[in-house]
């Protein structure tokens, strides 16, 4: 009997030890974000300033939504979805909580961007995000081999057979629709018209399948294949093109004739975030001009931080001047909020394209 009691005591105390360990851990911030959005030196600086440990999980828009939907908004303290993917998701699944503007240092944020994001993420008269950074999707071109590429339609151009790469995701569908002279954003509200348009785009992508080398899924892998000159023309984010331009001046980002697609990534706090204070601290920290400038220097993306652009390196400003003359800036197509149902239509089209021979 004594032996048994001793044994139970041992087991119980072992359990207590294991489970109490979690309670004494330091304060942490779990961040659900895109690759590159939490550079190591900024994370270290934040940890030194606040004593909060940052735990970063890399993801993309679709996975962020799926992850938060699965836990009904738990598990992360801060997420960084694009501003157009928030309102319809929030209406349906309630995975975010409203932003408490009193905790945000709004003076640090460019007012027009803040206002646009607040408006686009408004659900039940409460906004659910503040802007962090912005960029565009367009073409990365190797001028040595594809001097004439000008628009998304060149992704389907026979001349670049086997030398083209793009993602099989919704931005590609939108881009090809624009290149066909249509306006997908205007059809967002009309499900049937949008479906018809997407089917046309899907058919074009199926016809263009012999042209494409592969559908890239990983940004670094794409840059590698452009660097090794296996791919001459790709649809990708502007910062990738600028990163490559530093190594090889033939390669650069090009704002396509039918308009680069502009996105804004945000800060949004999941509904069941545990460490909300840390989340606000991180938001204010990242939007501080000197920190935002450091982020821009490294990742080449512009931020919503007011006054940070003056602190960035000269070549960053050169990037914008080279790729975005005023006309190209005016032609940027900013993503409006995506209504529900469209993702399902697009998903089916994308499946069809991938399955086609």
């Amino acid at each position: 009997m004594i032996k048994r009691k001793l044994f139970v005591l041992c087991v119980v105390s072992a359990f207590v030890l294991v489970f109490s360990g979690g309670l004494y851990a330091a304060e942490t911030l779990s961040l659900l974000t895109w690759k590159g959005y939490a550079p190591k030196n900024l994370v270290e600086k934040f940890e030194k300033e606040t004593g909060i440990t940052v735990k970063v999980t890399y993801s993309n828009n679709e996975e962020m939504i799926a992850k938060l939907r699965a836990t009904r908004g738990a598990g992360f303290d801060l997420a960084q979805p694009s501003q157009d993917r928030i309102s319809s998701v929030q209406e349906k699944y309630q995975i975010y909580q409203p932003i408490d503007m009193s905790k945000i240092n709004a003076a640090q944020i460019i007012p027009s961007m803040l206002k646009a994001v607040q408006l686009n993420t408004m659900v039940n008269v409460k906004s659910h995000a503040v802007p962090f950074c912005w960029g565009t999707s367009g073409l990365i071109v190797n001028r040595k081999f594809a001097a004439d590429a000008k628009d998304y339609s060149d992704l389907l151009n026979e001349a670049y057979k086997g030398r083209v790469s793009y993602r099989l995701k919704r931005p590609t569908l939108i881009a090809i629709a624009f290149a066909m002279g249509d306006d997908p954003f205007a059809k967002y509200s009309d499900v049937n018209a949008y479906q018809a348009l997407m089917e046309k785009v899907g058919q074009a992508l199926i016809d263009g399948k012999p042209i494409v080398k592969n559908y890239w899924t990983n940004g670094d892998a794409l840059l590698q294949s452009m660097r090794s000159e296996e791919v001459y023309l790709a649809m990708a984010w502007d910062n990738g093109g600028w990163k490559l331009h530093v190594e090889n001046s033939d390669i650069d980002f090009l704002a396509p004739k039918s308009g680069a697609l502009g996105w804004i990534d945000t800060f949004a706090i999941p509904a069941k975030a545990k460490n909300i204070d840390a989340a606000y601290k991180w938001i204010n920290f990242m939007l501080k001009p000197e920190n935002a400038a450091q982020f821009t220097n490294m990742e080449k993306y512009g931020t919503a931080s007011r006054g940070s652009i003056e602190l960035t390196n000269v070549d960053i400003r050169g990037n914008f001047q080279r790729s975005f003359p005023q006309a190209a800036v005016d032609n940027i197509k900013w993503y409006p909020p995506v209504p529900a149902k469209l993702e399902e239509i697009e998903g089916k089209i994308l499946d069809k394209v991938k399955a086609a021979k």
Partner: protein
Amino acid sequence: MLKGQKRWGLFFFLAPVVLWLFVMIVLPHIDLLIMSFRIENDEGQQIWSLKNYLNFFEEPIYWLTFARTAIYSILVTFLTFVIALPVAFYITKVVKPKYQGFLLVLLLLPFWVSELVRVYGWMILLRESGVINHFLLKAGLLKQPIEMLYRDSTMILGLVYTSMLFMVVPIISVLDSLDNSLIEAAYDLGANMWTILFKIIIPHATPGIVSGSIVVFMLTLGNYLTPNLMGGKNSLWFTEQIYNQFIASFNWNQGSAFGFLLLVLSSIVVWLGLKLTRQNLKKVVQ
């Protein structure tokens, strides 16, 4: 019968496992099963329906993708078997016993890194600007580099490589019990290599081959990474279809229906395989 104290101890140690299995595996599956029988109507409410399952049969891309996945998985299983049998035979019967352990470790070695790393390794070797092309160009065998990635054949290569070990190990364990004198006697009686292979070795090794095949088939069918990374533009795999439904289309109901279809259909394929080889599951899993 266990004595009271022992049973109590067993219960105590089993409880976490049972609890874990129930909460983390059984409950979510029940949830998914329920989800797969529901759809969202136009008003945004969830209603009961068989539509998710009907979609699979009505939309050719879905069942064609499944058929493609199953056929390629069977092909991969067969190729793995063809490569694994000589390897297993060499390790158990030909090589000196003191090298057996060493050879097994060599087989195991690639599995000490994750599948992702192995696939990237293959990609570095096979890509257009990769190692193999580089040497072929240097040796003058090629004038232009060729793209060896993003083909069905590369994908099969990757899948076979990934599943090799799971075929070799069960075959080694059955060949161990094969009496060498049977093979010697057959040679004495004038049998050639092929007769010995088909009349002695394969019949003896069948339980191992079948259990290896089941593991390889299931692993290949459920693989996501290798087809996606090495297969390129035409390589839609059924698991990717499930992923797309969950992640890209936000349609969890359809995704769970696909998941259960994968479970049922692959079980049918395994059952058919067992029937055709006249094995029963009990014997095979021993």
